[in-house]
Symmetry: C2
Subunit: 635 residues, 2 copies
């Protein structure tokens, strides 16, 4: 029997604008969606009528419950237009929940607010497969990204201010200020200070007993300004903050420094939120985030600065995932949205864990991995599943005829320009040639020991013969199944076949999860495993990369997993190399690390971490209808 919260859609043709579809549906009270999942009011906090934070404590309560099936959605190497991965994720869940009577939860990333006002518009899915209310999804949501901004920038302020105070004070004066004597002349260490003392190998608990050398080592972090990797963040497309000089006020006494802002979702704290497994774990990860080195080369952490606890306080509500709903009334958990290049591009572990317990045995949790499967699914397996201990039963690869034609040699696809004729008329040969890209994603994903289902996201101009070609190629490459779906035009109804295929794939999954590399391998070995996975014949390290690998190894961080910062537009580092290139040498320009989140990220090329605004940003259309309070012009 379908759940009472299920809503049947009247679909129109041609498909109206996303915002018009979203506004045409009155969302259900989120409390109803929660009740349908078996959640009681004490399990969640409402944020308005259509959003609720599901409290992490639910996990303890449901410990004994069996997990549902775990499905990850990746894609082939996309065109710049995107191939509908989020839409497929939502559409599949609408099919499972509204048409196949399964318990299902969609797990999505929270989009960055900044780009909503720039070029790209929102990220709530599309057509008849969307999350609603879409304005709340794309804007503040429940404040998690704002909390990240606040925490990230408190740490940044703590760094510069600490250097400033150390520059102007003696060891003793610093120590006296850090551990002031109370009225009775007694000094105390703050609890957090014992973390630094332990790191320094000092086991004394009375500040008065520290030797002058211990005082110096404790009080003077001696941060090397050149080594600072921690930048400030803002959830706005503000290109003029990419590179700035700070400290030019007269009170800052000439302590100027070049630095910059990234967009908030690029903060390491976002990656921490996505990879953490509990409040206690988040506290530890935030505390061990490395912001740079001391002049003698020791990594300096947030806890060395005394701020790990405050960061956790700022993030304590953000750890709870936000419950929303699809157009057809199925539940969605929105949580975390780390970058897919400099971070791992997956939504949170805690949301997936809660979802798996809520759907229980026989239910489905569908979670999306950012970018193409070479990046998103690889990081989902080797980073996210490694930290969560969860095992997926099925991996979906979303493919479009358009993108396959591009891989087969079709003309360049450019956002904002009309598609070439090749893409809107039948050309089976081009599709067949392009399936080499799909085949490589399938065999790569299969190598984790998981069943692969290809979702052919059908557009109006795609033909039977083209889709047949994809099906054959997919099956030949080892896919469990390959299914055409039309959820953009028809909602869940258009993804019923996909839902059935996914169900069969999950039920017949038997192999254990095989990671691509063991953590114990060296940083270089791990990078080389991933490069080989891409099809590279070798890896080339810059001098800077060599230096960084040596440093991280020396600092004891070599057993972390690797998060490649590579373009999503090719298996290689060259966006124009389509299909499944081989024989290329992958250049590692630099190697960085998010120690708190828990990965090393080699840079393959230059990654922009702060978008800009065009001459006519989206914001020109955006306004509020002041009579109704409704948002207009979001796309």
């Amino acid at each position: 029997m379908p759940s009472p919260t299920i809503r049947r859609l009247d679909v129109a043709s041609p498909v109206p604008a996303d915002i018009d579809i979203a506004n045409s549906v009155e969302p259900l009270p989120i409390a109803d969606i929660a009740a349908e999942l078996g959640l009681r009011p004490e399990h969640y906090d409402l944020y308005g009528k259509y959003k609720a934070k599901v409290l992490l404590s639910v996990l303890d309560e449901l410990k004994a419950q069996q997990d549902g099936y775990y499905v990850v959605v990746g894609g082939i190497t996309p065109t710049p237009l995107g191939e509908g991965k989020s839409t497929t994720t939502v559409g599949l869940c609408q099919a499972l929940g509204a048409f196949l009577d399964k318990k299902v939860v969609t797990c999505l990333r929270q989009p960055s607010q900044g780009p909503t006002f720039g070029i790209k518009g929102g990220a709530a899915g599309g057509g008849y497969s969307q999350v609603i209310p879409m304005d709340e999804f794309n804007l503040h949501l429940t404040g998690d990204i704002h909390a990240i901004t606040a925490a990230n920038n408190l740490l940044a302020a703590a760094i510069d201010t600490r250097i400033f105070h150390e520059n102007s004070q003696s060891d003793k004066a610093l120590f006296n200020r850090l551990c002031p004597a109370n009225k009775e002349g007694k000094r105390h260490f703050a609890d957090i200070m014992f973390r630094r003392l332990t790191k320094l190998g000092v086991s004394k608990t009375d500040p008065n007993e520290l030797t002058p050398d211990e005082i110096r080592r404790f009080a003077r972090l001696d941060i090397d300004p050149e080594s600072i990797t921690w930048r400030r963040v803002m959830d706005v497309n503000d290109r003029f903050l990419r590179k700035i000089t700070v400290g030019q006020g007269p009170e800052e006494k000439g302590m100027v420094r070049e630095t910059g802002f990234d967009i908030s979702v690029a903060s390491e704290i976002m990656a921490v939120l996505a990879l953490t497994t509990s409040l206690a774990d988040m506290r530890e990860r935030l505390g061990r985030m490395v912001i740079g080195n001391s002049k003698s080369g020791e990594p300096i952490t947030a806890d060395d600065l005394g701020v790990g606890g405050a960061l956790t306080v700022l993030m304590k509500d953000a750890i709870h995932p936000t419950l929303m709903q699809t157009l057809e009334g199925t539940p969605v958990l929105v949580h975390a949205g780390p970058f897919a290049n400099i971070a791992h591009g997956n939504s949170s572990i805690v949301a997936d864990k809660i979802a798996l317990k809520l759907v229980g045995k026989g239910g489905f949790v569908v979670t999306e991995a950012g970018f193409g499967a070479d990046i998103g699914t690889e990081k989902f397996m080797d980073i996210k599943c490694r930290y969560s201990g969860l095992v997926p039963q099925c991996a979906i690869i979303v493919a479009t005829i358009r993108a396959l034609k591009m891989h087969g040699g079709g003309p360049e696809v450019v956002a904002g320009k009309p598609l070439d004729h090749a893409y809107v008329s039948e050309n089976v040969a081009l599709v067949e040639a392009g399936c080499i890209n799909l085949a490589k994603h399938i065999s790569n994903t299969r190598s984790y020991g998981v069943n692969v289902v290809v979702a052919i996201n059908k557009f109006a101009s795609d033909t039977e013969a083209e889709m047949k070609a994809v099906h054959s190629a997919a099956m030949a490459a080892g896919a469990f199944d390959a299914v055409v779906c039309t959820h953009h035009a028809h909602g869940g109804k258009g993804a019923v076949e996909l839902g059935l295929a996914v169900q069969r794939a999950c039920e017949s999954q038997a192999e254990p999860l095989k990671f691509l590399y063991p953590l114990e391998s060296s940083i270089k070995e791990k990078i080389e495993s991933i490069a080989k996975f891409y099809g590279a014949s070798g890896v080339e390290y810059s001098e800077q990369a060599e230096k960084q690998i040596e440093m991280y190894t020396k600092q004891g961080f070599s057993s972390l997993p690797i998060c490649m910062a590579k373009t999503q537009y090719s298996f290689s580092h060259v966006p124009s190399m389509k299909g499944a290139p081989t024989g290329f040498v992958l250049p590692i320009r630099d190697v960085r690390a998010s120690i708190g989140a828990g990965f090393i990220y080699p840079l393959v090329g230059t990654m922009s971490t702060m978008p800009g605004l065009p001459t006519r940003p989206c914001f020109y259309q955006i306004d509020v209808d002041t009579a109704t309070g409704k948002v207009m012009g979001l796309s």
Copy 2:
């Protein structure tokens, strides 16, 4: 009969730490507090269990309801330790609600989150007169300040990016990008563009009909970078952002510019939020905010940049005040927290309006005005009441023996240092001498035609004789009454006498509200009225101030009210001039404007708009108990 949500406190002596008192009381579900105010679930949005946003639409529904009594709380010129204005505001309401069976709502400002981690700690009141949960009050609350940060910085990004794009494009290219042709070759103006067209006197609706000159005037804002007054903001104490250079990235092509960050509550958008009266009014105020001038001296607004609608979308939830509760279970509306110098330092008009309707006839709304009465109450009357049309029946002036002794010639009071003996032992002569400050605040406040009640906020070491001296001086100066209160130590019970006096004052109020100056006066006349009110013998304008006054007058902004940016530590511009100085000449260093919020602000001295962190910031004590999720160490 007392309301069922009233909670009786067991008070301990000596008074425990604020956080310990706050944590010792389990807050009531905010839905219960809302119900007690007559609010139904459709009137508010829950944000967790202990906060709710009361929707502005309540005002329409309660239009026919009579307003309650409106009481504003100001203070004498304070010591750097503060004289307990917020605590008195909360304590008085606890008395009215929990002991005198009155309907009452406390209206408070939302504190800035940044300083919570710096020196000052929280701002939820103190002792047994606090708002709870105090961690939520001091931290993210319901995200209003985060919304302000996002909106403020979207506008900042729009400014720099617009200059950048104008620098590199012809008039025609700019116009083509702003009004692109659709598939059929047709161009359209976005709705917001008609605002700029109207301002330019162009009434055409078809972009193709614009002349080259009109195209140039429409598309080229021609912002003078030197004239930009709009700065970026962040809710973090980050002194290194006070003065920065932006645009140093290679893609920004050398378009570097010096600018800086203020703390978020210093944003003009915060002042807009505090002074707006409806969503439609907020849309207009945000759109007309002036960010600088064109090279020909025309003011450039957010709507000229096309972003006024988007700013409103970002602020649409922030316009609803947040309902919380006091320790004794009386309702509190927290909303807006503009700076008390460069802005007007009062909580929002909409919160006060909603509160007055909710308490209804015979009920009480008590709202606090920032800084001493010379600043806070003056701006409450001449700016806030002018925009709201509301009329207070009673103004409270909070006085402490400590501060009066300082005004009487006592030694300097320095935060963080022990108080001089004079402040903790009886010295009636010092108190009597200091009452000159109180008397001037009383007569100033009386001049608005409102009854003045003096609240003597008693500390443990204050004596009967000292308090008697204050009472006599207050009555002689024209106070309606002067009452000793001990709400810090006893909660509402300690402010019952104050509550009775306030009730009598409200019931016997008969005079109409008399503003200090008419809006039609010139900017200089208005500044001079306020200077006289302070006790100055005259005003001295810098060359820069003269230039700015001339500019604002020419631009048509001279009929706005005046918001003096002056120290709170003296009636004069010199913090060390205590008592009630006369004969000084008030120097106006510069004159600036918040056109959207709706005031001109002359600068009397230098105002810091971005605090810093000390060597040992508060954050060293702050952490989460990861077992319970409780915040520890907030003060």
